[in-house]
Symmetry: C2
Subunit: 183 residues, 2 copies
């Protein structure tokens, strides 16, 4: 890639993170272009769709998924505690931007999605947690990682759109956790 192109790309991403954090997933892309000091054409050439931009923006964030998951897996407490801690981490991770939870959860399991790779990282992390619990026989059989991501993602979407706080989300996650654990 030519040096000027690389410069613009980086600049757009930097500004996009800022704008998306301020205004959520629906922010105007022309505004991003303007603030980045490039023309609309440049933005759309680098990122043909909003999802492509999202995907690139989330690149740095992906590393945190693995890291956070490691931390959860290493933490103390009962199986239920671990599962809940993971749920809360997951919700936090996908709630980086307003509209994010719905976006990510919708893309989950859709091979066509431009943010597919990110979803795979997430469901991969979920799989690790579930494998860990599964080995100890803590999980009821027949639930897979993508399903869990959808369930918890559904809760996160509702929380995001209704602007629920952690205290309101917690009991919902508890129900999901209890539904997943072996009895």
């Amino acid at each position: 890639m030519r040096a000027d192109a690389q410069r613009n790309r980086d600049r757009i991403l930097e500004v996009a993170r800022e704008v998306f954090r301020e205004q959520g997933y629906d922010a105007s892309l022309d505004l991003v272009a303007k603030r980045a000091g490039v023309g609309a054409g440049t933005l759309y050439r680098h990122f043909p769709t909003r999802d492509d931009l999202m995907d690139a923006m989330m690149q740095s964030w992906v590393d945190r998924v693995t890291e956070s998951t490691d931390k959860v897996l290493a933490s103390e407490g009962s199986d239920r505690d671990l599962l809940l801690r993971w749920f809360e981490t997951y919700v936090e991770l996908i709630s980086l931007h307003k509209g994010g939870p719905a976006k990510i959860t919708t893309a989950m399991g859709n091979p066509e999605s431009p943010i597919r790779s990110k979803c795979q990282v997430l469901s991969g992390a979920a799989a690790r947690v579930m494998e860990s619990l599964g080995e100890r026989g803590a999980l009821r059989p027949g639930v897979d990682a993508v399903q869990v991501c959808r369930l918890v993602g559904g809760v996160a979407s509702v929380a995001d759109q209704s602007e629920l706080d952690g205290a309101a989300v917690r009991p919902l996650l508890e129900v999901v956790a209890d539904g997943m654990l072996a009895r």
Copy 2:
């Protein structure tokens, strides 16, 4: 209301049902106006916001909620079966239009929402089901009707946006049901 106003209002609603069914919650309102043979001004005078239109459209649908709930409550089977049957009914009811589940679930518990009355009917129905199960000691304590609507609504939102079919939704609902039932 003047006779012509009433006529136009009815016509707009009739067309809106059709268009929303075809195109989901995001359908253009100008298209609704055009197809109804009225000007945009007329549409917006009757229904200042998209939600006001949604609300009016759902009026006839509200009656079905009570009826469907009655049917579920009268049905045979275990507590778990009853709960699952109710969940599936609920998902079906709020999935009338694309985008409906997210819309309704977001509005749930928001006193400012224009479709508030509809949400109350829904959470009221959920409360009836839960009361019935609660009397028999089938539910774990501390879950309220609005929470359940949010959980099931979250599942419905995901299903709606990812276009999941009934078979894919069922296991998610089972997890929620198992999480809610007393152990």
